[in-house]
């Protein structure tokens, strides 16, 4: 991120999740050892569970967005009921509801979770480390335009910025505007242009 302002000390890029908690890791490791020793669990099952957690990712999000751009009826369903529309694409959604928020020429959407790290994980996998940093969680609601500037996105003053704090049961995806020439592009090309940052809203133009 380019910086246009002076910091004293940079906040350490600490990830405040359970995995960063050494005490908890010791307990988890001990529990796993006991379960494996008792034959209730195998190491292979543990790695398979981790692989399953990590198998969703940007590729699924990009598939949803490219489909919405190329199929107006699908886009309507996606905006009306995100979870059902995502499941149409054979993506298993474990979240209660997915709310898709659409960027337009006048509106930009930004997703955050100020209380922890809520994220549409069954679609996008694990969130990036900055998303769960205390700095992003606090600043994305307090000074979102400045945060976006640090990501290289300078929103015009007359554009409406809507910040969505996913503090409870909903999970969010941003539907970016399609590139101008999207009708001439193949689906794989379109999907390759979509980044995770577009789906969180820290990036805007898909080009």
């Amino acid at each position: 991120m380019p910086h246009d302002h002076a910091h004293g000390e940079h906040e350490a890029l600490i990830i405040e999740d359970e995995a960063g908690n050494i005490d908890a890791q010791i307990v988890v490791d001990a529990l796993q050892q006991v379960l494996i020793a008792k034959g209730l669990l195998t190491a292979r099952e543990v790695t398979a569970a981790i692989a399953k957690l990590e198998s969703p990712g940007l590729h699924l999000g990009a598939k949803i967005i490219a489909k919405a751009w190329s199929d107006p009826e699908y886009k309507k369903r996606l905006l009306a009921d995100g979870r059902a529309a995502v499941q149409e694409l054979d993506i298993p959604v474990t979240e209660a509801r997915i709310i898709v928020v659409e960027n337009t020429a006048q509106v930009h959407n930004l997703i955050t979770c100020t209380l922890c790290s809520c994220y549409p994980r069954s679609i996008l996998g694990q969130p990036p480390s900055w998303y769960i940093s205390k700095a992003y969680r606090a600043r994305s609601v307090r000074e979102p335009r400045r945060v976006l500037k640090e990501f290289g996105l300078d929103l015009p003053d007359d554009m409406k910025l809507v910040v969505h704090d996913s503090n409870a049961d909903m999970r969010y995806l941003v539907l970016p505007e399609p590139p101008l020439d999207f009708q001439t592009l193949s689906t794989p090309d379109l999907e390759a242009m979509i980044s995770r940052d577009h789906l969180i809203g820290v990036a805007r133009d898909v080009a």
Binding site: T114, E143, P144, D158, L161, V162, D165, N167, A168, M170
Partner: protein, 100 residues
């Protein structure tokens, strides 16, 4: 029948609750506008202590003017923040100005 409808002006309560509370401090006392009814969900304040039998509570999405949330003249007037608030944290708004 839900207590609030889309478009209703509501104020977020500052309940003195401890534990797994999902209503951040920055939004308490603030007045906003209901934008969506999300359905009923088990209360995370109960779930966190193993109480999984309910009752389920109504959840709303509520929009707030960013300028109202933060003391900052540089914030464009049209910028908003939308957050999910459970029914028991809401009360009908007393005033009628500050529409987001």
């Amino acid at each position: 029948m839900t207590r609030f409808a889309v478009g209703d002006r509501v104020q977020v309560l500052a309940l003195r609750k401890e534990g797994h509370v999902r209503i951040p401090h920055y939004i308490r006392h603030q007045t906003g506008c209901v934008t969506e009814y999300c359905g009923t969900y088990l209360n995370p304040e109960d779930l966190a202590v193993g109480k999984t039998s309910g009752p389920a509570v109504d959840l709303y999405r509520v929009a707030f003017a960013q300028r109202q949330l933060w003391p900052d003249d540089l914030i464009p007037p049209q910028d908003t923040l939308v957050i999910e608030i459970y029914d028991h944290w809401l009360t009908p708004a007393q005033e009628t100005d500050h529409a987001p």
